[in-house]
């Protein structure tokens, strides 16, 4: 991967800390353990448990695909008020595995809930009986292969034995590495904010466009906070903020059967009660949550398969946000635009093509297109002051910003993508080994 993370995160970030590789630390109410269930046959950690000792409020968003994995079906069927554990395995997507794949999760949930309940009896003053429906799953990897139920079940005692009640940066790093498939970098992000006078932590890890054997880029993102936010408000916050973050990225326009982004709220940081999403007290929390989500989403794109450039597409002054989004993704998903950028070619004719094919009605006598600060099209005409040399120089950057202004409204959308390189073809055209 040729993209410098500091460079690509620096241009837009308000917070210098987001630019750095962030160290996540202890967060009350979350325990992590990781093991190798030998799913890759190479001893790497591939099974990660998040344990919420006193339970956590929870919300998730899932793939829009009409074919979904068995773990997403499982998660959608559970209606628990609190979640006690999230278990993530890699290497096997548990998709197209039928009733056997679903039953496998059920059996794992039975063992986990039983053994965690036993642990509660030993460690907790007021032990709780943890139920199957309080366990949810993330899976990523190969589609259609038999789900490795036995290998995972065998490792549950070790996973639970390894649980510690104080976390540090090393265990977060292990978790971020443990959920990777062929990502080249672990993805972590954090932000602190306040609710009332209490300091609140928001931590997140993600995995992105790895691919292994017959599957595709699955995105998993998991956010943890010690704030106390009710399930309903968590759901609204996540749905609202996913739109401009994980739903604003595209690597190749393909959508996995397993995509999942979740937020868990342990409620350990005491603060005034939050009753609704418009509560002034969570304004700062929401901003911070958005930053964590966006930071993770950008890291997923920057580590996209074969990526050599990070591309930000700003579409401005549209009639509706949906119009802006359609145009932004039409550009972000255009192979012709993405190959031109890979070739460092300021090929604005292809941007015009992608705007046109988005299907949004527009008066292009007003259209403006810029690469960075450099004006290419102004008032629907090729800018006579266009500077070929400066523009060619600009295209050599790792971080390319495209601005499209439609001038028929006030709504905007920003999409993030990467270029399309020979390396992408190499990664994806190789024989399964």
């Amino acid at each position: 991967m040729g993209i410098n993370l500091t460079n690509f995160l620096s241009s837009k970030s308000k917070n210098k800390r987001l630019m750095e590789f962030q160290d996540l630390d202890h967060i009350d109410g979350v325990s992590i353990s990781t093991v190798s269930a030998d799913l890759y046959n190479n001893k790497r950690d591939d099974l990660v448990m998040f344990y919420f000792r006193d339970g956590a409020n929870h919300a998730s968003v899932y793939t829009q695909s009409k074919i979904i994995s068995e773990n997403i079906k499982w998660n959608l069927n559970q209606k628990a008020k609190k979640i006690f554990s999230l278990i993530v395995n890699t290497r096997n997507a548990n998709c197209f595995t039928g009733k056997l794949g679903y039953r496998g999760l059920e059996k794992i949930a039975e063992i986990v809930s039983e053994q965690l309940s036993e642990k509660q009896k030993i460690d907790d003053d007021q032990p709780k009986r943890i139920r199957n429906k309080e366990i949810i799953f993330g899976c990523t990897g190969t589609i259609g292969e038999t789900f490795p139920e036995e290998k995972i079940k065998n490792k549950i005692p070790e996973l639970i034995e390894k649980i510690k009640y104080t976390q540090n940066k090393y265990i977060w790093m292990k978790a971020a590495l443990g959920i990777m498939t062929t990502d080249t970098q672990p993805k972590m992000s954090m932000k602190e904010c306040t609710i009332g006078n209490s300091r609140i932590k928001i931590y997140g890890i993600a995995k992105g466009s790895g691919m292994i054997q017959p599957n595709m880029a699955t995105t998993l993102g998991y956010i943890f906070t010690d704030a106390e936010i009710p399930n309903e408000i968590l759901k609204k916050l996540l749905r609202k903020n996913i739109e401009t973050t994980f739903n604003a990225i595209s690597c190749d326009g393909d959508t996995s059967t397993n995509d999942m982004v979740s937020i868990f709220s342990t409620g350990k940081a005491k603060h005034p009660k939050i009753n609704n999403i418009n509560d002034e007290k969570i304004k700062f929390f929401e901003e911070s949550l958005n930053e964590v989500l966006l930071n993770l989403a950008k890291r997923v794109v920057a580590d996209g398969e074969g990526a050599s450039k990070f591309i930000t597409i700003n579409v401005q002054n549209c009639k509706t946000e949906n119009d802006a989004k359609k145009i932004a993704f039409s550009i972000a998903n255009s192979p012709l635009v993405k190959t031109a950028i890979a070739g460092q070619d300021p090929n604005w004719g292809r941007i015009v093509m992608a705007i046109g094919k988005a299907g949004v009605a527009l008066n292009y006598d007003k259209l403006s297109i810029k690469f960075g600060d450099l004006s290419i099209v102004q008032n629907g005409k090729f800018n006579s002051n266009y500077d070929e040399i400066k523009t060619a120089d600009y295209m050599k950057n790792d971080n390319i910003e495209i601005f499209v202004d439609i001038f028929n409204g006030s709504k905007k959308f920003v999409a993030y993508t990467m270029d399309l390189t020979k390396k992408y073809i190499e990664i994806n055209a190789d024989y399964r080994s």
Copy 2:
């Protein structure tokens, strides 16, 4: 291009003649001339005139893009009953050229109509006064560059001087070559049929996914027949038959500002009058028109940028044709599917992914997927008889057929595409020279 035309056309063609490189010949009422207006600065023919001595009935379909070229605007503004000339230039798309680009066409139309009217006085017993609005244009090439009005105007006398009233295979070849941009092969197709007892010719030429400098794959297709079909019926026939031919192909999912497919009917072959599209007498004509369109559309895909394999995607037994089309194009436009096929990898997990992301509700317990005759998924499960070696062998073919059966209805759609190779990236990521 590694694709053998005979191989890829043979598998589905009912008519052996479609498999061959077809020689087009004389067709009454159509004259062709070609010149080099030196648009490429290399003396190749780049300006082609089709002249209909007695006018031709006409219908066209244009790009769905919201940004259209000036020649398409011109064509849409003309409402003539008969067309006397179609003029096609390459190298310049006349898009994003503003009023100047439109005015350029107007001036060219003025000169052409005047000089053709003069020619009518010399050659014809009942000379007609040809009007601007009876001239239409096809343009393909670079977006945003000044339209080369002068260069084209200067060549009109030569174009008209070269007109002959008898055509042969050489002039058709010159026309097919003259409309190419970076196509590697000229694209021609023909079919003869009957209306009543009269023999009818249907000839067609096309150009496809060439690309030069800041532009994209423009598709142009022009069909000529000596049948006498009214404009309204031509329009209906073209709109209906474009759906399963030119609208069933995809090279990279991108759409040009200049796409155009037209049909011209000279009425020179005398036959019983056709009054409506359901007229039994044109059933054979319609079938033949569809064959010519499909043959040209396939040739466009087979010559797609960097193509090494021709891919046919059959989606069957859906509730609606639109559902089948959505799934077929979701597969056809998936970079992950296309790179897998480039790598000769029977990566059926990616087909599953593409079916899921199409957004069509389905019960995948019934889903079936085949590569050629080889069953991969049956009743929503990976087929236990799957033969890895046979399937790997099958993927080595130039011509790959994918069959997806949804089993919840009776509608189908067939889409055609090619694989996504490093060569595509190479062609499209190169600096503009």
